[in-house]
């Protein structure tokens, strides 16, 4: 359900930026969303069609660049992506781990005409 609030925020950012550039129409919105952000593409798209109606973003496509979760082991330096049921380092078994990517929730750019 929070995809509604997220979609509204995306729309506001896109419209603000398009207005500043005096654009007539927004063709696409390029997003970076990490897997740890717990957002679902289908839900965002579902709300998007409803809330963008009647704005210059109507019909714009949401291009979602999904960022996988990337971890780095403090002990052996191995970087790896998150597995389902085990987070520890696949090489040395350490649990001293840093999450380095995967929490992004950003509007990177918009394509306008």
């Amino acid at each position: 359900m929070h995809e509604l609030a997220v979609s509204q925020s995306i729309l506001k950012i896109a419209l603000d930026n398009a207005e500043k550039a005096q654009a007539k129409h927004i063709k696409s919105i390029n997003l970076e969303i990490g897997y740890l952000a717990s957002l679902f593409d289908d839900s965002i798209n579902f709300y998007w069609d409803i809330i963008s109606e009647g704005t210059i973003a109507q019909g714009a496509s949401l291009v979602i660049n999904r960022i996988p979760v990337e971890m780095r082991c403090f002990d052996c330096g191995k970087t790896y992506s998150l597995e389902d049921d085990s987070f520890d380092c696949p090489d040395c078994g350490s649990i001293r781990i840093q999450v380095i990517r995967g929490e992004e929730m950003r509007v990177e750019s918009i394509d306008v005409e």
Binding site: I13, N17, R96
Partner: protein, 223 residues
């Protein structure tokens, strides 16, 4: 002709900015805010009421209850003599900075040392929406299972305190504490953790003492 405008902005930046304003408001009023998050049925309201019982006479506190509907939780707090405000989100699965900001307008912050915000029961969304509190607290109850850090990693990343609750049920449900805590340690190294049972009272004094000390030293540092 199509052209690209670089934006590079966090999607929830508007909410983040409002959350900063709320934090300033709490700071100015010398009120320490905590945001309690957990899945539905984890025992948030009982935990809060027991916490406040333990803090009675030591701190002045108020509660904001977030639920999709009903005033059941704020009624419980008011019945216990605690100043409480209910926010009904009307379907939204989380509290956000706008909702909390509105609620705080009808609360006398000058009379408080501690504000406890009970977020909507949900392990997915609330963590994304900052509300301006000083500490985010996650409750994980034993019957939810030991795999929750692995299934909801986002929830375990953005918190400063973890409460492992309903520890009295440990003999009755399968729960591998070592597996659970390993997942937590990887996602959030050194996370301050309390193991409690609101029902039996086990561990509640340690948590209440910690909270009281944290609020007192925060207030002193602001003098």
């Amino acid at each position: 002709m199509t052209s690209r405008i670089e934006v590079g902005k966090k999607i929830l930046s508007a909410n983040d900015e409002l959350a900063i304003q709320i934090k300033s408001k709490l700071d100015e009023s010398h009120v320490f805010g905590i945001n309690i998050m957990a899945s539905p049925g984890a025992g948030k309201t009982t935990f809060i009421l027991k916490t406040l019982e333990a803090l009675k006479g030591r701190l002045n506190f108020g509660v904001v209850e977030g639920d999709i509907a009903s005033s059941i939780d704020s009624d419980k707090a008011k019945a216990a003599g605690i100043p409480a405000i209910q926010i009904n989100t009307g379907g939204e699965c989380h509290l956000d900075a706008v909702m909390l900001g509105g609620a705080l307008n009808s609360m006398d912050l000058t009379a408080l040392d501690l504000l406890i915000v009970e977020n909507v029961g949900n392990l997915v969304c609330p963590i994304n929406f900052k509300i301006g509190t000083h500490k985010n607290v996650l409750i994980a109850s034993i019957p939810e299972g030991d795999d929750k850090p692995y299934k909801y990693p986002g929830a375990y990343r953005g918190v400063e305190v973890l409460i492992i609750s309903k520890i009295d049920l440990l003999p009755y449900v399968p729960f591998d504490m070592e597996y659970f805590r390993k997942g937590v340690e990887i996602l959030n190294p050194g996370l301050i953790t309390f193991v409690i049972s609101a029902k039996s009272g086990e561990g509640m004094d340690l948590w209440a003492d910690w909270l009281c000390d944290t609020v007192s030293s925060w207030k002193e540092s602001r003098m």
